[in-house]
Symmetry: C2
Subunit: 391 residues, 2 copies
């Protein structure tokens, strides 16, 4: 009745969501028969993805006690590389998406993509050998801003780095011996939120990312929506920004041109709020209590919220997650976001429908690894075939 691996995938997902949990409960949660649960648990345990835990069993007075199963986080891991403007973020995650090791590697020569990727791969191998040599790496996920062709594993265009048609997957696979999956920033984050985030595990989700790039990702019941040209989620040039600001795209008032980290930091710098045009500095100032800095970040949040409201109306997802510095670091911004979305959206969202991102400073590493974890969770039994070790 189900596609191959679907049962195992649903089962693994239920275990991920509901912590250590008894097989009977899994059956109830997934709609599978107890028999199927047993069999799939055995299969997944055989692959090292699940374990029986001797957890504290809250015995319920009658009957045979539970023997809870849980995700096995001690045997495998997944690697992630996030490619940013100035550095790569490397991360090793366990199967619950928790960061077990992390490293930031600045680009030696940003123009030389081969060097950047080779360095990242080598450092990743070392990171693994030094920190978690006992864990078997299952794969490598790569997240990058810009235009990514997921199918081909190619970074088609990364504007700020100036890369074009870089075969990221093949380069990294050759260097690490791992299966590599590449996806865009926003989509990776969206999936990470859905799998591991505080957002819960809603069926549909929209992720709005605001950094130097402004991008959105849409997940519906059918999975991540990539769009005809892998270009879905193009909110960068919505006319929600300051009409006085010209955008490289040729028009003015574009969202990205107005609220990108660079643009906003510059604005704060010019206003004399901070001493260098750096968004981090602006955030630090606001956290430290600088009222002008806070006000500026709240103002940015208000603009971002209009985009969130738009997405909310058009896609009507269960939840909209926003990754933006202010929203993550300042409660004032989180409040402003909710208030503004509630005011602009047509269908009034419940307060829990608009959430800041859940991954603090690890966002990027989690996102990258999530690309690979997503694939594993989608078809866990597939690990049978390509048992490739290599790092």
């Amino acid at each position: 009745m189900n596609p191959r691996g679907t049962a195992a995938s649903a089962l693994l997902g239920a275990v991920l969501r509901h912590g250590p949990v008894a097989r009977t409960t899994i059956a109830r949660l997934t709609g599978l028969s107890p028999a199927a649960v047993t069999r799939n648990c055995a299969a997944l345990a055989g692959l090292g993805l699940l374990t029986e835990v001797a957890g504290p069993l809250p015995y319920r007075g009658m009957g045979r006690p539970h023997t809870p199963v849980d995700v096995e986080t001690g045997r495998h891991l997944v690697a992630g590389i996030h490619i940013a403007h100035e550095h790569c973020t490397l991360a090793l995650l366990d199967l619950r998406g928790r960061v077990r090791a992390r490293l930031r590697v600045p680009h030696r020569d940003p123009d030389d993509h081969e060097d950047v990727l080779a360095t990242a791969a080598d450092r990743l191998v070392r990171l693994h050998a030094e920190h978690l040599p006992g864990h078997v790496p299952l794969g490598l996920g790569v997240a990058a801003g810009g235009w990514v062709d997921t199918e081909a594993g190619v970074l088609v265009e990364h504007t700020s780095l100036g890369w074009r048609d870089v075969p990221v997957r093949d380069l990294l696979a050759a260097r690490t011996g791992l299966p590599v999956l590449v996806d865009s920033h926003a989509r990776a984050l969206a999936r990470a939120e859905q799998l591991f985030g505080a957002a819960g595990h809603h069926e549909s989700l929209v992720h709005l990312f605001v950094g130097n790039v402004v991008d959105a990702a849409i997940i519906t019941g059918g999975g991540t929506h990539r769009g005809a040209r892998s270009a879905a989620g193009g909110v960068a040039h919505l006319a929600l920004g300051d009409p006085a600001i010209d955008c490289p795209c040729g028009r003015s008032g574009c969202l990205e041109a107005t609220v990108s980290d660079r643009a906003w930091a510059w604005r704060a710098y010019e206003a004399g709020v901070i001493s260098r045009p750096s968004i981090t500095e602006l955030g630090d100032a606001a956290v430290a209590g600088n009222a002008a800095a806070t006000a500026l970040l709240v103002e940015r949040t208000r603009i971002v919220a209009r985009a969130a409201a738009l997405l909310f109306d058009i896609v009507n997802p269960d939840v909209v997650v926003v990754t933006e510095l202010g929203v993550i670091r300042l409660p004032e911004c989180a409040r402003a976001l909710r208030a503004e979305v509630a005011a602009s959206a047509r269908v009034c969202p419940s307060p829990s429908a608009v959430l800041p991102s859940s991954f603090g400073p690890d966002v990027l590493g989690v996102a990258a690894g999530a690309v690979q974890l997503d694939a594993i969770y989608a078809d866990p039994l597939n690990l049978r075939n390509p048992i490739r070790l290599g790092v």
Copy 2:
């Protein structure tokens, strides 16, 4: 390897798309094995959904000739009821979505939903008995503007009719004895376009409907996206309209308030272009060569196109279909639509990515029936169980 009925569904879909077609070709198109094609064809033929046709066989010189199969349009039909402001449109469609009989039934008392629905049901039964008594009805689809809860089959809110929480499905099922499915206007049309429209059979599609209601529907790889509250596609209150026009929602500049049929007809009337505030009259005038009328409709199209471009950027579907009077009836509007979308969208759409609706005056009937046809095409073997005749 596939969910139940998926193979049959894919097969039927391929036959629908590629006209009479040989089994081998179907296997190639669907990726199924020839054996599976044979078996599923037999099953579907047994249900009366497919037939072997003795078509003109273009023999290719060697080997056993094709025996093409095609959708069986002579045995079954599907009924549709579209509920509009002043009347219901009834239609009987064959399995290719072609209208075989049609009837428009004005509401006797628009406030009395029971009477409206009962009348429609009775007239539908009569329509069937008079025109196509030999065809077995498989089900009834209902499309309505406003807020529809598809699960429950309830019309939650129809603003212009003032209906609230009308259990459309149960009322009509009781009266006709047919399985009834209800969905919103835009989603029904979107599905109709995808199944039967000139839009081809793209995986992802956005439908923008502009009538007295402005609404959009999103279909992605995973199917029609309904959203958390069945409210996806809420473009009515995007701030793309005339900021001077107040909307009942409390804000101003809303798209619907500006470009709805009613609003625009009124505008044309006040400008002295037509003698009554009727959008049909405006359309007729434009078709007859009235330059002012044409200009007004083109102007509306431009505004509508901005919404289309927005949807194009955010969702990035294979194709955007627009159902709006001007675009359908006037080549000038169709051209303006394409030009404006190309100018406003960030990712430049190919010319064929923005299309006017394909169903001329039958739109509404087709849309309604498509709700049911969609379900049949999604799981054709399911007809085994509820073989309910009744009309």
